[in-house]
Point group: C2
Chain length 177, copies 2
Amino acid sequence: MSQKLSIPEVNALGYEEFIDRFGGAVEHGRLVAAAAWSARPFLSASDLHFRFCEFLDQLSQAGKEAVLRMYPDLAGKLANSGGLTEESVREHKAAGLDSLSADEHRTLSELNEAYKTKFGFPFVICARENKKDAIIQGLKRRMENDVRTEAVTGVNEVKKICHLRLQDLAEDSTSKM
Amino acid sequence: MSQKLSIPEVNALGYEEFIDRFGGAVEHGRLVAAAAWSARPFLSASDLHFRFCEFLDQLSQAGKEAVLRMYPDLAGKLANSGGLTEESVREHKAAGLDSLSADEHRTLSELNEAYKTKFGFPFVICARENKKDAIIQGLKRRMENDVRTEAVTGVNEVKKICHLRLQDLAEDSTSKM
C-alpha cells in the first residue's frame, strides 16, 4: 500500500489522483469519492470521512441498497475465487474469515444466502471490528430487521469500513509518517 | 455490441449479468444500475430508464456533481489517448467530434477548461443529439448558469445519454430483434 498522506497533501491532489487513492474507500465507490471531492479543501481526516458519510446518508433507499450490493459476500464465491478487492482481502483476514472450518463456512454461506433472499442485498459488516463468531451472531440478529432498517444498518457498517480504510490512506498530522 | 434484450429477458437476468450489461448506461455507473435493480421487475423499457433517472434525481448536489465527473471532456485528453469507454467513442463520432479542425479543437478545449474551472465538473451534453456547432454554442450558453442549475442541466443530459444507451441494450417488444 502507498504511504499515508497528510490532509494538506490530500487537498493538493488532482482529481484523478484523488479518485485513484480514495475510490475504494467505499467498495467500487468512485462515485462516492467524486462526491466528496466537491467539499475540498478538507479540514481534517474526520472531515474527509464525514463527506463520504454525507453522500451515503443522502441516498434514497434504492441507492443505499445499491451501495451494499457493491460489497462481496463474506467468505463467499468471490473470496473463494480470488476476486476480492485488496481492501476486502485484508478485512476478511482480520476477522479470521480466511481460516473457517468447513462447518463454519457452511453456516456462514447458508446465513448469507438467507439474508440475501430476504433483503435483496448482501450482509455487510465491518469485519475488522468483528471476529467470525460475532459476524455469525450479527447475521442471525440482523435477519430480524425490516428492509429499511437493515439498509441503514448496512450503510452504517459501510461507514465504519470506510473510516478504517481512510485511516490507512490519510492522517491528521501535517507530515507523512 | 451484444444483442438487444426484451424486457422479460432483462427481468430474468441475474444481478451480475444485469450490472455487466447496464453498468455503463450511466458512465462508470455500476452504482446507478445497482440502484435500478431494486425496482425489478421492470414493466417496460421506459420503466427501466425511469429507475435510472429516479436515482439521479434523488442525488444531493455533490452527488449530481459526482455523476458529471464520471464523464470525459468532449474531445479532451481521454479521447486523444484512446481512453474513452466504447459508448463514448460512438457518441463522440455521432456528433462529429472525431473530425474537428485544429481551430475547432482548440475552441472546444478552451471552453471545456473554462467550464470546468467555473463549475468544478466537466461539461456534459448528449452528443448523439447535437452536432459539434450546437455543442460549442451550448457550452457558451450554459457557462452563464449558476452551479446548481448547471448540475441539474448536466444530469438531464446524462439521462438523455442513458436513454439512448438503454435503447441499444433493451427494447419493449417481447422477442429479440
